[in-house]
Protein backbone atom coordinates (compact mmCIF):
# COMPACT_ATOMS: atom_id res chain seq x y z
CA UNK A 1 0.00 0.00 0.00
CA UNK A 2 1.35 3.37 -0.97
CA UNK A 3 1.22 6.43 1.18
CA UNK A 4 2.67 9.92 1.42
CA UNK A 5 3.28 11.85 4.61
CA UNK A 6 4.21 15.48 4.47
CA UNK A 7 5.04 17.19 7.71
CA UNK A 8 5.67 20.91 8.11
CA UNK A 9 7.21 21.15 4.69
CA UNK A 10 8.86 24.45 3.79
CA UNK A 11 10.89 25.25 0.73
CA UNK A 12 12.96 28.36 0.37
CA UNK A 13 14.31 29.85 -2.83
CA UNK A 14 16.92 32.53 -3.12
CA UNK A 15 15.91 35.18 -5.59
CA UNK A 16 18.76 36.97 -7.32
CA UNK A 17 17.91 40.48 -8.23
CA UNK A 18 20.31 41.19 -11.02
CA UNK A 19 22.56 38.35 -12.11
CA UNK A 20 24.13 35.15 -10.98
CA UNK A 21 26.74 35.69 -8.28
CA UNK A 22 30.30 35.27 -9.41
CA UNK A 23 33.45 34.72 -7.44
CA UNK A 24 34.09 38.45 -7.68
CA UNK A 25 30.74 39.34 -6.09
CA UNK A 26 31.35 36.79 -3.44
CA UNK A 27 34.73 38.20 -2.54
CA UNK A 28 33.37 41.74 -2.71
CA UNK A 29 30.52 40.78 -0.40
CA UNK A 30 32.89 39.38 2.18
CA UNK A 31 34.47 42.80 2.47
CA UNK A 32 31.23 44.71 2.32
CA UNK A 33 29.85 42.66 5.21
CA UNK A 34 26.39 42.69 3.75
CA UNK A 35 26.81 39.34 2.09
CA UNK A 36 23.88 38.07 0.01
CA UNK A 37 22.60 41.59 -0.45
CA UNK A 38 22.00 40.78 -4.09
CA UNK A 39 19.48 38.09 -3.17
CA UNK A 40 16.48 37.63 -0.94
CA UNK A 41 14.58 34.66 0.45
CA UNK A 42 11.35 33.50 -1.04
CA UNK A 43 9.31 30.81 0.65
CA UNK A 44 7.59 28.85 -2.09
CA UNK A 45 6.07 26.52 0.50
CA UNK A 46 5.47 27.28 4.15
CA UNK A 47 4.60 24.70 6.83
CA UNK A 48 2.57 22.41 4.62
CA UNK A 49 1.35 19.19 6.23
CA UNK A 50 -0.93 16.46 4.90
CA UNK A 51 -1.24 12.70 4.59
CA UNK A 52 -2.25 10.86 1.48
CA UNK A 53 -3.33 7.23 1.72
CA UNK A 54 -3.88 4.54 -0.88
CA UNK A 55 -6.94 5.20 -3.02
CA UNK A 56 -6.71 8.95 -2.77
CA UNK A 57 -7.11 10.97 -5.95
CA UNK A 58 -5.85 14.40 -5.00
CA UNK A 59 -6.26 17.58 -7.01
CA UNK A 60 -4.17 20.57 -6.04
CA UNK A 61 -5.73 23.94 -6.85
CA UNK A 62 -4.60 27.49 -6.31
CA UNK A 63 -3.68 30.68 -8.11
CA UNK A 64 -0.44 31.20 -9.98
CA UNK A 65 2.48 31.25 -7.59
CA UNK A 66 0.57 29.32 -4.90
CA UNK A 67 3.31 26.67 -4.77
CA UNK A 68 1.44 23.87 -6.54
CA UNK A 69 4.22 22.87 -8.88
CA UNK A 70 6.86 23.32 -6.20
CA UNK A 71 4.88 20.91 -4.04
CA UNK A 72 4.76 18.32 -6.84
CA UNK A 73 8.47 18.68 -7.47
CA UNK A 74 9.17 18.29 -3.78
CA UNK A 75 7.16 15.05 -3.75
CA UNK A 76 9.24 13.82 -6.70
CA UNK A 77 12.45 14.77 -4.86
CA UNK A 78 13.52 17.37 -7.39
CA UNK A 79 13.50 19.97 -4.61
CA UNK A 80 14.85 19.08 -1.24
CA UNK A 81 12.87 20.43 1.71
CA UNK A 82 14.40 23.39 3.52
CA UNK A 83 12.47 22.41 6.64
CA UNK A 84 10.14 19.55 7.49
CA UNK A 85 9.85 16.04 6.16
CA UNK A 86 8.39 14.10 3.29
CA UNK A 87 8.11 10.33 3.42
CA UNK A 88 6.87 8.40 0.44
CA UNK A 89 6.04 4.69 0.34
CA UNK A 90 5.70 3.24 -3.16
CA UNK A 91 7.22 3.85 -6.58
CA UNK A 92 6.56 7.40 -7.63
CA UNK A 93 6.47 8.31 -11.31
CA UNK A 94 7.50 11.83 -12.21
CA UNK A 95 5.31 12.93 -15.09
CA UNK A 96 6.00 16.57 -14.57
CA UNK A 97 7.46 17.48 -17.86
CA UNK A 98 6.91 15.51 -20.99
CA UNK A 99 10.10 14.57 -22.79
CA UNK A 100 12.49 15.74 -20.07
CA UNK A 101 15.79 14.07 -20.76
CA UNK A 102 15.21 13.50 -24.44
CA UNK A 103 18.34 14.15 -26.42
CA UNK A 104 17.75 15.83 -29.79
CA UNK A 105 20.66 14.05 -31.51
CA UNK A 106 19.49 10.60 -30.45
CA UNK A 107 17.03 8.58 -32.49
CA UNK A 108 13.57 7.83 -31.17
CA UNK A 109 14.64 4.33 -30.22
CA UNK A 110 17.78 5.51 -28.42
CA UNK A 111 15.71 8.05 -26.55
CA UNK A 112 13.32 5.36 -25.39
CA UNK A 113 16.28 3.73 -23.65
CA UNK A 114 17.88 6.95 -22.44
CA UNK A 115 14.72 8.61 -21.17
CA UNK A 116 13.27 5.31 -20.02
CA UNK A 117 16.22 4.60 -17.78
CA UNK A 118 15.95 8.11 -16.35
CA UNK A 119 12.26 7.45 -15.63
CA UNK A 120 13.39 4.42 -13.67
CA UNK A 121 12.63 1.55 -16.04
CA UNK A 122 15.03 -1.38 -16.15
CA UNK A 123 16.63 -2.48 -19.39
CA UNK A 124 14.46 -5.60 -19.57
CA UNK A 125 11.30 -3.60 -18.93
CA UNK A 126 12.29 -1.23 -21.72
CA UNK A 127 12.84 -4.10 -24.12
CA UNK A 128 9.39 -5.41 -23.26
CA UNK A 129 7.55 -2.11 -23.68
CA UNK A 130 9.50 -0.84 -26.70
CA UNK A 131 7.20 -2.23 -29.45
CA UNK A 132 4.10 -1.05 -27.65
CA UNK A 133 5.52 2.44 -27.08
CA UNK A 134 6.46 2.78 -30.75
CA UNK A 135 3.11 1.45 -31.91
CA UNK A 136 1.14 3.75 -29.66
CA UNK A 137 3.16 6.76 -30.81
CA UNK A 138 2.60 5.67 -34.45
CA UNK A 139 6.27 6.20 -35.19
CA UNK A 140 7.25 2.84 -36.70
CA UNK A 141 8.64 4.57 -39.78
CA UNK A 142 10.68 7.24 -38.03
CA UNK A 143 11.82 5.50 -34.88
CA UNK A 144 15.45 5.38 -36.07
CA UNK A 145 15.54 9.06 -37.03
CA UNK A 146 17.07 11.56 -34.58
CA UNK A 147 14.26 13.25 -32.67
CA UNK A 148 15.49 16.71 -33.66
CA UNK A 149 13.91 16.02 -37.05
CA UNK A 150 10.57 15.13 -35.46
CA UNK A 151 7.61 17.44 -35.64
CA UNK A 152 6.31 18.72 -32.30
CA UNK A 153 3.46 16.26 -32.55
CA UNK A 154 5.71 13.27 -33.16
CA UNK A 155 7.97 14.31 -30.32
CA UNK A 156 5.05 14.70 -27.92
CA UNK A 157 3.52 11.38 -28.93
CA UNK A 158 6.76 9.51 -28.30
CA UNK A 159 7.36 11.21 -24.97
CA UNK A 160 3.78 10.66 -23.85
CA UNK A 161 3.70 7.08 -25.01
CA UNK A 162 6.91 6.28 -23.14
CA UNK A 163 6.00 8.13 -19.95
CA UNK A 164 2.66 6.35 -19.71
CA UNK A 165 3.91 2.89 -20.65
CA UNK A 166 4.42 1.68 -17.10
CA UNK A 167 1.98 1.80 -14.24
CA UNK A 168 3.45 3.46 -11.17
CA UNK A 169 2.11 3.13 -7.63
CA UNK A 170 1.98 6.88 -7.23
CA UNK A 171 1.13 9.01 -10.21
CA UNK A 172 2.07 12.69 -10.14
CA UNK A 173 0.62 14.81 -12.93
CA UNK A 174 1.26 18.38 -13.82
CA UNK A 175 -1.08 20.57 -15.82
CA UNK A 176 -0.23 19.53 -19.37
CA UNK A 177 -0.62 15.86 -18.69
CA UNK A 178 -3.97 16.20 -17.04
CA UNK A 179 -5.23 18.69 -19.60
CA UNK A 180 -7.38 17.57 -22.46
CA UNK A 181 -5.12 18.61 -25.33
CA UNK A 182 -4.66 15.03 -26.46
CA UNK A 183 -6.30 12.70 -28.89
CA UNK A 184 -9.02 10.43 -27.55
CA UNK A 185 -6.78 7.38 -27.45
CA UNK A 186 -4.26 9.30 -25.36
CA UNK A 187 -7.05 10.28 -22.99
CA UNK A 188 -8.09 6.66 -22.65
CA UNK A 189 -4.51 5.71 -21.89
CA UNK A 190 -4.24 8.50 -19.34
CA UNK A 191 -7.46 7.53 -17.55
CA UNK A 192 -6.35 3.92 -17.53
CA UNK A 193 -3.11 4.98 -15.89
CA UNK A 194 -5.00 7.02 -13.30
CA UNK A 195 -7.37 4.12 -12.61
CA UNK A 196 -4.55 1.70 -11.96
CA UNK A 197 -2.47 4.02 -9.82
CA UNK A 198 -2.62 3.50 -6.10
CA UNK A 199 -2.42 7.22 -5.48
CA UNK A 200 -2.88 10.04 -7.96
CA UNK A 201 -1.90 13.64 -7.39
CA UNK A 202 -2.51 16.30 -10.01
CA UNK A 203 -2.28 20.04 -10.44
CA UNK A 204 -4.83 21.72 -12.62
CA UNK A 205 -6.63 24.98 -13.22
CA UNK A 206 -9.49 23.07 -14.80
CA UNK A 207 -12.01 22.68 -11.98
CA UNK A 208 -14.27 20.39 -13.89
CA UNK A 209 -11.41 18.00 -14.56
CA UNK A 210 -10.45 18.08 -10.88
CA UNK A 211 -14.06 17.43 -9.84
CA UNK A 212 -14.37 14.50 -12.22
CA UNK A 213 -11.04 12.81 -11.48
CA UNK A 214 -10.39 13.54 -7.83
CA UNK A 215 -11.97 12.56 -4.54
CA UNK A 216 -9.97 15.08 -2.58
CA UNK A 217 -8.82 18.64 -3.17
CA UNK A 218 -5.98 20.56 -1.58
CA UNK A 219 -6.20 24.31 -1.93
CA UNK A 220 -2.89 26.17 -1.86
CA UNK A 221 -2.33 29.89 -1.56
CA UNK A 222 1.00 31.74 -1.30
CA UNK A 223 2.83 28.60 -0.28
CA UNK A 224 0.38 27.64 2.45
CA UNK A 225 -2.24 24.97 2.58
CA UNK A 226 -5.60 26.74 2.89
CA UNK A 227 -8.16 23.95 2.79
CA UNK A 228 -8.18 20.21 2.35
CA UNK A 229 -11.38 18.28 1.68
CA UNK A 230 -13.73 16.81 -0.90
CA UNK A 231 -14.14 18.50 -4.29
CA UNK A 232 -17.80 19.25 -3.45
CA UNK A 233 -16.76 21.32 -0.45
CA UNK A 234 -13.59 22.96 -1.66
CA UNK A 235 -14.14 23.84 -5.32
CA UNK A 236 -17.16 26.16 -4.84
CA UNK A 237 -15.42 27.78 -1.91
CA UNK A 238 -12.21 28.21 -3.91
CA UNK A 239 -14.08 29.67 -6.86
CA UNK A 240 -15.99 31.99 -4.51
CA UNK A 241 -12.80 33.07 -2.73
CA UNK A 242 -11.12 33.53 -6.06
CA UNK A 243 -13.67 36.16 -7.01
CA UNK A 244 -12.70 38.31 -4.02
CA UNK A 245 -8.97 37.92 -4.52
Amino acid sequence: MSSIHVEDLSIKFLIYHDRSPSLKDYVANVFKRNARSSSSDFWALRNVSFNIEAGDRVGIVGHNGAGKSTLLKALCRVYESSEGNISVVGRIAPLLEIGAGFHPEFTGRENIYLNGSILGYSKQQLKDIEPEVIAFAELEEFIDTPVKYYSTGMYMRLAFSLATAMHPDILVLDEIFAGGAFMTKAKTRMYDLIDKANIMIMVSHDHQLVSSLCNRVIWMDHGRLVRDGTPEEIIPEYLGGGAHA
Binding site: F13, L14, S20, P21, S22, L23, K24, Y26, C76, R77, V78, Y79, E80, P94, L96, E97, A100, G101, H103, E105, F106, Y113, L114, S117, I118, L119, S122, K123
Partner: protein, 262 residues
Protein backbone atom coordinates in the same frame (compact mmCIF):
# COMPACT_ATOMS: atom_id res chain seq x y z
CA UNK B 1 26.31 10.75 8.05
CA UNK B 2 27.05 7.05 7.61
CA UNK B 3 23.44 6.24 6.67
CA UNK B 4 23.63 9.02 4.11
CA UNK B 5 26.73 7.47 2.61
CA UNK B 6 25.00 4.09 2.44
CA UNK B 7 21.88 5.53 0.77
CA UNK B 8 24.16 7.44 -1.56
CA UNK B 9 25.88 4.29 -2.79
CA UNK B 10 22.76 2.14 -2.91
CA UNK B 11 20.99 4.81 -4.97
CA UNK B 12 23.95 4.98 -7.30
CA UNK B 13 23.89 1.23 -7.68
CA UNK B 14 20.17 1.25 -8.44
CA UNK B 15 20.77 3.84 -11.14
CA UNK B 16 23.57 1.99 -12.92
CA UNK B 17 21.23 1.78 -15.88
CA UNK B 18 21.11 5.56 -16.13
CA UNK B 19 24.89 5.76 -15.70
CA UNK B 20 25.31 3.36 -18.58
CA UNK B 21 23.03 5.50 -20.74
CA UNK B 22 24.77 8.75 -19.82
CA UNK B 23 28.20 7.31 -20.60
CA UNK B 24 26.96 5.93 -23.92
CA UNK B 25 25.45 9.32 -24.69
CA UNK B 26 28.78 11.05 -24.22
CA UNK B 27 30.76 8.51 -26.20
CA UNK B 28 28.31 8.25 -29.08
CA UNK B 29 27.30 11.87 -29.46
CA UNK B 30 30.69 13.49 -29.56
CA UNK B 31 31.62 12.36 -33.02
CA UNK B 32 28.27 11.45 -34.49
CA UNK B 33 28.15 12.41 -38.16
CA UNK B 34 31.91 12.85 -38.39
CA UNK B 35 33.72 10.67 -40.91
CA UNK B 36 36.37 9.34 -38.59
CA UNK B 37 34.04 9.11 -35.61
CA UNK B 38 35.52 7.71 -32.45
CA UNK B 39 38.99 7.64 -34.05
CA UNK B 40 39.22 11.34 -33.26
CA UNK B 41 39.56 10.39 -29.61
CA UNK B 42 42.81 8.65 -30.55
CA UNK B 43 44.07 11.01 -33.25
CA UNK B 44 43.74 14.17 -31.23
CA UNK B 45 46.03 13.29 -28.28
CA UNK B 46 48.43 11.35 -30.51
CA UNK B 47 49.01 14.34 -32.79
CA UNK B 48 49.33 16.69 -29.85
CA UNK B 49 51.84 14.47 -28.10
CA UNK B 50 53.84 13.89 -31.26
CA UNK B 51 54.24 17.61 -31.80
CA UNK B 52 55.26 18.06 -28.18
CA UNK B 53 57.72 15.18 -28.42
CA UNK B 54 59.41 16.70 -31.48
CA UNK B 55 59.57 20.23 -30.08
CA UNK B 56 60.67 19.43 -26.57
CA UNK B 57 63.16 16.72 -27.46
CA UNK B 58 64.89 19.28 -29.68
CA UNK B 59 64.66 21.90 -26.95
CA UNK B 60 66.03 19.60 -24.26
CA UNK B 61 68.54 18.11 -26.71
CA UNK B 62 67.24 14.66 -25.91
CA UNK B 63 66.94 11.63 -28.12
CA UNK B 64 63.52 11.86 -29.80
CA UNK B 65 62.67 8.21 -29.32
CA UNK B 66 63.54 8.10 -25.63
CA UNK B 67 61.86 11.42 -24.99
CA UNK B 68 58.68 10.44 -26.85
CA UNK B 69 58.37 7.33 -24.68
CA UNK B 70 58.96 9.36 -21.56
CA UNK B 71 56.43 12.01 -22.56
CA UNK B 72 53.70 9.59 -23.63
CA UNK B 73 53.83 7.70 -20.37
CA UNK B 74 53.34 10.94 -18.46
CA UNK B 75 50.70 12.41 -20.73
CA UNK B 76 48.27 9.49 -20.39
CA UNK B 77 47.52 10.01 -16.69
CA UNK B 78 47.74 13.80 -17.02
CA UNK B 79 45.24 14.03 -19.88
CA UNK B 80 42.76 11.90 -17.98
CA UNK B 81 43.11 13.88 -14.78
CA UNK B 82 42.90 17.30 -16.38
CA UNK B 83 39.89 16.39 -18.56
CA UNK B 84 37.98 15.02 -15.58
CA UNK B 85 38.64 18.15 -13.54
CA UNK B 86 37.73 20.62 -16.30
CA UNK B 87 34.76 18.72 -17.73
CA UNK B 88 33.22 18.02 -14.31
CA UNK B 89 32.77 21.76 -13.96
CA UNK B 90 29.92 21.67 -16.45
CA UNK B 91 28.41 18.40 -15.19
CA UNK B 92 25.34 20.01 -13.64
CA UNK B 93 25.22 23.17 -15.69
CA UNK B 94 24.85 21.22 -18.93
CA UNK B 95 22.15 19.02 -17.45
CA UNK B 96 20.15 21.78 -15.85
CA UNK B 97 16.97 20.89 -17.75
CA UNK B 98 17.05 17.34 -16.51
CA UNK B 99 17.96 18.10 -12.91
CA UNK B 100 15.10 20.55 -12.55
CA UNK B 101 12.52 18.10 -13.83
CA UNK B 102 13.36 14.61 -12.66
CA UNK B 103 15.17 13.27 -9.64
CA UNK B 104 18.19 11.16 -10.40
CA UNK B 105 21.17 10.81 -8.06
CA UNK B 106 23.31 13.83 -8.86
CA UNK B 107 26.61 12.03 -8.50
CA UNK B 108 25.73 10.25 -11.75
CA UNK B 109 26.67 13.33 -13.73
CA UNK B 110 30.31 13.71 -12.63
CA UNK B 111 30.61 9.93 -12.46
CA UNK B 112 29.42 9.52 -16.05
CA UNK B 113 31.92 12.15 -17.21
CA UNK B 114 34.78 10.43 -15.42
CA UNK B 115 33.70 7.00 -16.72
CA UNK B 116 33.45 8.16 -20.32
CA UNK B 117 36.87 9.80 -20.04
CA UNK B 118 38.29 6.63 -18.54
CA UNK B 119 37.12 4.68 -21.57
CA UNK B 120 38.67 7.31 -23.85
CA UNK B 121 41.87 7.12 -21.89
CA UNK B 122 42.01 3.33 -22.07
CA UNK B 123 41.61 3.44 -25.84
CA UNK B 124 44.29 6.06 -26.32
CA UNK B 125 46.44 4.06 -23.95
CA UNK B 126 46.18 1.04 -26.22
CA UNK B 127 47.14 3.14 -29.23
CA UNK B 128 50.03 4.72 -27.38
CA UNK B 129 51.15 1.40 -26.04
CA UNK B 130 51.47 0.10 -29.58
CA UNK B 131 53.65 3.12 -30.37
CA UNK B 132 55.68 2.68 -27.20
CA UNK B 133 56.43 -0.91 -28.15
CA UNK B 134 57.31 0.14 -31.70
CA UNK B 135 59.69 2.77 -30.31
CA UNK B 136 61.48 0.18 -28.26
CA UNK B 137 59.61 0.05 -24.97
CA UNK B 138 59.86 -3.17 -23.06
CA UNK B 139 57.12 -5.56 -22.11
CA UNK B 140 57.42 -6.74 -18.55
CA UNK B 141 55.41 -8.12 -15.69
CA UNK B 142 55.42 -4.64 -14.21
CA UNK B 143 52.77 -3.67 -16.77
CA UNK B 144 50.29 -5.69 -14.73
CA UNK B 145 50.48 -2.91 -12.17
CA UNK B 146 48.82 -0.46 -14.59
CA UNK B 147 45.21 -1.38 -13.68
CA UNK B 148 46.07 -0.42 -10.10
CA UNK B 149 47.56 2.85 -11.40
CA UNK B 150 44.38 3.54 -13.32
CA UNK B 151 42.17 2.69 -10.34
CA UNK B 152 44.05 5.04 -8.03
CA UNK B 153 44.07 7.79 -10.64
CA UNK B 154 40.33 7.38 -11.22
CA UNK B 155 39.53 7.68 -7.52
CA UNK B 156 41.75 10.74 -7.23
CA UNK B 157 40.29 12.47 -10.30
CA UNK B 158 36.75 11.57 -9.26
CA UNK B 159 37.24 13.24 -5.86
CA UNK B 160 38.33 16.42 -7.60
CA UNK B 161 35.54 16.09 -10.15
CA UNK B 162 32.85 15.88 -7.47
CA UNK B 163 34.10 19.07 -5.83
CA UNK B 164 34.34 20.84 -9.18
CA UNK B 165 30.87 19.83 -10.32
CA UNK B 166 29.19 21.33 -7.25
CA UNK B 167 31.50 24.29 -6.73
CA UNK B 168 31.10 25.52 -10.32
CA UNK B 169 27.34 25.79 -9.84
CA UNK B 170 27.94 28.26 -7.03
CA UNK B 171 30.80 30.11 -8.71
CA UNK B 172 30.56 29.96 -12.46
CA UNK B 173 33.92 31.69 -12.79
CA UNK B 174 35.55 28.53 -11.56
CA UNK B 175 35.42 26.97 -15.03
CA UNK B 176 37.74 29.65 -16.35
CA UNK B 177 39.89 29.74 -13.26
CA UNK B 178 40.41 26.00 -13.52
CA UNK B 179 41.29 26.12 -17.21
CA UNK B 180 44.20 28.39 -16.33
CA UNK B 181 45.07 26.52 -13.16
CA UNK B 182 45.31 23.24 -15.06
CA UNK B 183 47.71 24.79 -17.56
CA UNK B 184 49.90 26.00 -14.74
CA UNK B 185 49.67 22.64 -13.02
CA UNK B 186 50.75 20.92 -16.22
CA UNK B 187 54.09 22.71 -16.13
CA UNK B 188 54.45 22.12 -12.41
CA UNK B 189 53.95 18.39 -12.86
CA UNK B 190 56.94 16.33 -13.96
CA UNK B 191 55.56 15.37 -17.37
CA UNK B 192 57.97 17.12 -19.70
CA UNK B 193 60.86 16.59 -17.31
CA UNK B 194 62.04 14.25 -14.60
CA UNK B 195 60.85 14.95 -11.05
CA UNK B 196 64.39 15.80 -9.94
CA UNK B 197 65.05 18.13 -12.88
CA UNK B 198 63.55 21.16 -11.20
CA UNK B 199 65.99 21.98 -8.45
CA UNK B 200 66.30 25.07 -6.34
CA UNK B 201 63.46 27.41 -5.50
CA UNK B 202 60.68 25.69 -7.39
CA UNK B 203 61.49 22.22 -6.09
CA UNK B 204 58.92 22.31 -3.28
CA UNK B 205 56.16 23.00 -5.82
CA UNK B 206 56.84 19.65 -7.44
CA UNK B 207 57.00 17.96 -4.07
CA UNK B 208 53.64 19.21 -2.87
CA UNK B 209 51.99 18.67 -6.24
CA UNK B 210 49.46 15.87 -5.62
CA UNK B 211 49.60 14.71 -9.26
CA UNK B 212 53.33 13.90 -9.15
CA UNK B 213 53.08 10.40 -7.60
CA UNK B 214 50.37 9.39 -10.09
CA UNK B 215 52.70 10.15 -12.99
CA UNK B 216 55.26 7.86 -11.38
CA UNK B 217 52.68 5.07 -11.16
CA UNK B 218 52.46 5.05 -14.94
CA UNK B 219 56.04 5.86 -15.83
CA UNK B 220 57.77 3.13 -13.85
CA UNK B 221 56.00 0.17 -15.47
CA UNK B 222 55.99 1.69 -18.96
CA UNK B 223 59.51 3.11 -19.15
CA UNK B 224 61.61 1.39 -16.54
CA UNK B 225 59.83 -1.97 -16.68
CA UNK B 226 59.72 -1.92 -12.90
CA UNK B 227 57.11 -1.53 -10.22
CA UNK B 228 56.68 2.04 -8.97
CA UNK B 229 58.58 2.84 -5.80
CA UNK B 230 56.70 1.96 -2.64
CA UNK B 231 56.89 5.65 -1.74
CA UNK B 232 54.99 6.63 -4.88
CA UNK B 233 52.38 3.91 -4.34
CA UNK B 234 51.86 4.90 -0.74
CA UNK B 235 51.64 8.60 -1.52
CA UNK B 236 49.26 8.09 -4.42
CA UNK B 237 47.01 5.84 -2.33
CA UNK B 238 46.88 8.32 0.50
CA UNK B 239 46.21 11.26 -1.79
CA UNK B 240 43.48 9.34 -3.64
CA UNK B 241 41.77 8.29 -0.41
CA UNK B 242 41.92 11.76 1.11
CA UNK B 243 40.67 13.40 -2.09
CA UNK B 244 37.70 11.08 -2.49
CA UNK B 245 36.72 11.45 1.19
CA UNK B 246 36.91 15.24 0.99
CA UNK B 247 35.11 15.20 -2.36
CA UNK B 248 32.34 12.92 -1.12
CA UNK B 249 31.84 14.88 2.09
CA UNK B 250 31.64 18.17 0.24
CA UNK B 251 29.33 16.66 -2.36
CA UNK B 252 26.92 15.15 0.17
CA UNK B 253 26.75 18.41 2.10
CA UNK B 254 26.09 20.60 -0.92
CA UNK B 255 24.32 18.52 -3.57
CA UNK B 256 20.84 19.42 -2.30
CA UNK B 257 21.46 23.11 -2.86
CA UNK B 258 22.47 22.58 -6.47
CA UNK B 259 18.94 22.54 -7.92
CA UNK B 260 18.19 25.93 -6.34
CA UNK B 261 21.27 27.54 -7.79
CA UNK B 262 21.16 26.29 -11.38
Amino acid sequence: MSTRVITFFSELYDSRNVLHQLVAQQLILRYRRTVLGYLWTLINPLLMMSVMAVVFSALFKADLQTFALFLFAGMIPWNFFSSVVTQSGTAFINNEGLIKKIYIPKALFPLSIASALLIDSLFSFIALFAIIIALGGTISWALLFLPVSYALLFVFAMGFGMIMSVATVFFRDLQYVMAIAMQALFFLTPILYKPDALAGRTKWLIEINPVTPFIALFRAPLIDASLPSSDAILQATMIAVITIIVGLTFFLRQEKKVVFRL
